[in-house]
């Protein structure tokens, strides 16, 4: 006898589907959605090490809006993000196009370009600190061309943030390359053949055929790159420590959040910073979606 309680086949199928995603959904709700909600809750309190101290309403946000150091961190993060996204996407796309050709040692290049993305960020940063120090490799190299300098690139407020851009852009370009490479390989050969028959040259083919066909990849890559850049913490922390010096030049929003939470034990205020960052990232992602449309092809 068929159990009528299970209803139609469709409902049954849906239930089975939900049963399959139950565990991952539970993990997602518990470790992603709940903490976001809880952070909003905490941000409305003066919250100490052992929990709530008193309710302050939107007080933390009001203080935040008048906090010049926070705005400095926002400015730094914005400048960093714009520059690093341009750098890593350009570099990643260029590398992907290069290693998509039939080259000798193609696998070697692919592995080589991807290597910085899998190497430990701390190790890369430590090496970069040596290379960019006052008496480091970069300055010796520049000296060969008659440009004598002993500028400490990471410790000069004029160059610190841009040095981080260079380091981070290079280190993340491998991942971007991988995304683009996958998308490039999904472009059918026939399209290129048609372009060749029409007499399009390499450069024109790239801009008129390849680039537009990568549209879904552009959307995905930009979203991932922007989110990663806005959450910049580790390399800034390793280079200049929690203070974000010199002259606040390397202070990012997440570094500021860390300072407030760990050094001051002001968890409510830090949560407010986190919520603002979340709202910012969310808004930017929505704008990107409106600009680039839905990712039709995965």
């Amino acid at each position: 006898m068929r159990s009528w309680a299970w209803g139609s086949e469709r409902i049954r199928e849906a239930l089975v589907g939900y049963a399959f995603i139950l565990v991952p959904m539970g993990v997602f709700l518990l470790f992603f959605i709940f903490p976001i909600g809880y952070a909003v809750y905490i941000s409305r309190y003066n919250w100490g090490i052992l929990g709530k101290i008193d309710f302050v309403g939107w007080g933390n946000y009001r203080t935040l809006f008048h906090d010049p150091i926070f705005w400095r961190a926002v400015k730094n993060t914005a400048m960093f993000s714009v520059a690093v996204v341009i750098l890593e996407v350009t570099l990643g796309l260029a590398l992907a196009v290069i290693v998509n050709q039939t080259l000798r040692f193609r696998t070697f290049y692919r592995a080589g370009f991807y290597f910085p993305s899998i190497a430990s960020s701390a190790a890369i940063t430590a090496i970069a600190i040596y290379i960019l120090s006052a008496d480091g490799l970069l300055n010796s190299f520049l000296g060969l061309f008659g440009y004598d300098t002993n500028r400490p690139w990471f410790y000069d407020s004029g160059t610190a943030l841009w040095s981080l851009v260079g380091l981070n852009g290079w280190a993340t370009s491998g991942t971007i390359m991988l995304f683009y490479l996958a998308a490039l390989q999904a472009i059918p050969v026939e399209v290129y053949e048609a372009a060749a028959i029409d007499g399009a040259r390499t450069w024109r083919t790239f801009w008129k055929v390849t680039f537009p066909l990568l549209r879904p990849a552009h959307f995905f890559v930009l979203v991932v790159a922007v989110i990663g850049a806005l959450q910049m913490f580790d390399q800034a922390f390793l280079v200049a420590g929690p203070e974000g010096g010199p002259n606040y030049s390397t202070l990012t929003v997440v570094l500021y959040l860390y300072n407030k939470a760990i050094a001051n034990a002001e968890f409510g205020y830090a949560a407010a910073v986190g919520v603002m960052l979340f709202v910012g990232i969310f808004a930017i992602t929505v704008i990107q979606r409106l600009l680039f449309g839905r990712p039709e092809v995965a």
């Binding site: 090490i49 150091i69 300072n259 001051n264």
Partner: protein, 412 residues
């Protein structure tokens, strides 16, 4: 369990409590809980370690403790990585170690949050004498009249001088602000530090403030009501002047990560650092140096960097914790802890190793590097402004007024 066994167990427990209480009333030995010998159980201990040598030394001290109190087991964990962040998570989970390190400048952040246990009731109950501790260090761990930690050791600054370079320049070890400048001048003109600079001078207020105290300043560290005073201004101008006249450079400008690194690389002849520079210097036998007192301004002044042993308010083994704490900060424990010369004893009745004696002399005029609960905000602002001054992008006056507003909004 039958009713009879429950009654019997309760009776035994009651008797045990009564004995414990009676033992507690006994006369104090002045070192630990009088009934400590009867105590048994496990007490947890945590701190950070800056080297394997230090880690090993602490394990030896713990071994000596366990020899004295065989019934107490010490479970020791060195917390790697970000100590403060790890401890905050442990406090929040209500599972902190029983005894742990508290950095002097972090103490004002933690103590008002109610995570540290007051030691005052124990001091009173067991007639524990805090007199041997250097009073300035002990006062760094007091809050609202209660004591929340005993300093485990400390370090002031001193002047590390490269004797070979000084000889080459034909100069003597400077003793005053004026002779510091003239010595640096001689080092510079004789090119005694090729490829380097006479003085390694970091853009760090934890160095500047020693000069501020040398200038006769008497207030607290980075306070809004006194940061603009003439004494602070003059000291800051003197410090910044060393950079401006080319007598000093920041370590990052000569390819060093900190003053001590520059000194060890032979890139400067003079550096102001603490006893922590002594152990790494052992690995650089080519650098011949001496340790001298900081130069004198109008008076002597120095900073004290100290760390306490404290007990968690959520500790479930406070009696054991107190026994361990008083051993570690007691005469025997501290003697062992400071025997390798990795740090200075915070007790007057323990002698430091001879090569650190210059440091100990500063105990009477050193000020604990500490501020209010938002001290970190002020240091962050102060050091960022100082780096702007060092780069020539800001004046000393404008720096001080910005630090004042940062101190004001941090409530100190």
């Amino acid at each position: 369990m039958s009713r009879r066994t429950i009654v019997a167990s309760l009776a035994v427990l009651g008797l045990a409590l009564a004995i414990a209480a009676l033992a507690g009333l006994g006369t104090g030995t002045g070192t630990a809980a009088p009934h400590a010998k009867q105590l048994s159980g496990t007490v947890s201990l945590s701190g950070w370690q800056s080297s394997p040598v230090e880690d090993n030394l602490l394990r030896q001290v713990i071994k000596a403790f366990q020899k004295k109190y065989p019934k107490i087991k010490v479970s020791y964990t060195a917390l790697g990585g970000d100590y403060d962040a790890t401890m905050l998570a442990k406090f929040a989970a209500r599972k902190p170690p029983d005894v742990f390190y508290v950095n002097g400048h972090v103490f004002p952040v933690w103590v008002p949050q109610g995570v540290l246990a007051s030691l005052s009731p124990y001091i009173k109950k067991y007639h524990f004498s805090t007199k041997p501790f250097f009073p300035r260090l002990l006062s760094g761990f007091k809050y609202k009249g209660q004591t929340y930690g005993f300093p485990k050791d400390w370090g002031p600054l001193a002047m590390f001088v490269n004797t070979d370079m000084l000889k080459k320049a034909g100069a003597k070890t400077p003793t005053t602000w004026a002779t510091l400048r003239s010595t640096a001048q001689k080092l510079k003109s004789s090119n005694a530090v090729p490829g380097g600079t006479p003085i390694c001078l970091s853009d760090d207020w934890a160095r500047v403030f020693a000069f501020v105290y040398q200038n006769g300043y008497k207030g607290g560290i980075l306070r809004s009501n006194s940061i603009m005073s003439s004494k602070v201004k003059a000291a800051a101008n003197y410090y910044v002047g060393l950079w401006k006249s080319g007598l000093a450079k920041r370590p990052q400008d000569i390819g060093a990560s900190w003053n001590g690194d520059g000194f060890m690389k032979g890139k400067c002849a003079i550096a102001f650092e603490g006893p922590w520079l002594v152990p790494p210097l052992k690995d650089v036998p080519s650098i011949h140096y001496k340790i001298a007192a900081l130069p004198k301004g109008k008076t002597r002044g120095n900073l004290a960097f100290t760390v306490s042993y404290s007990i968690a308010k959520d500790s479930k083994h406070k009696a054991l914790a107190w026994t361990l704490l008083t051993y570690l900060t007691g005469r025997a424990g501290m003697k062992k802890w400071t025997s390798l010369g990795l740090s200075l004893p915070s007790r007057k009745d323990v002698k430091p190793v001879s090569r650190l004696s210059t440091f100990t002399k500063a105990a009477g005029y050193s000020h604990v590097w500490q501020g209010g609960p938002k001290f970190n905000d002020v240091i962050t602002a102060a050091n960022n402004e100082l780096s702007a001054v060092a780069e020539g992008k800001e004046s000393v006056n404008s720096m001080l007024s910005k630090i004042r507003s940062a101190a004001k909004s941090a409530g100190q």
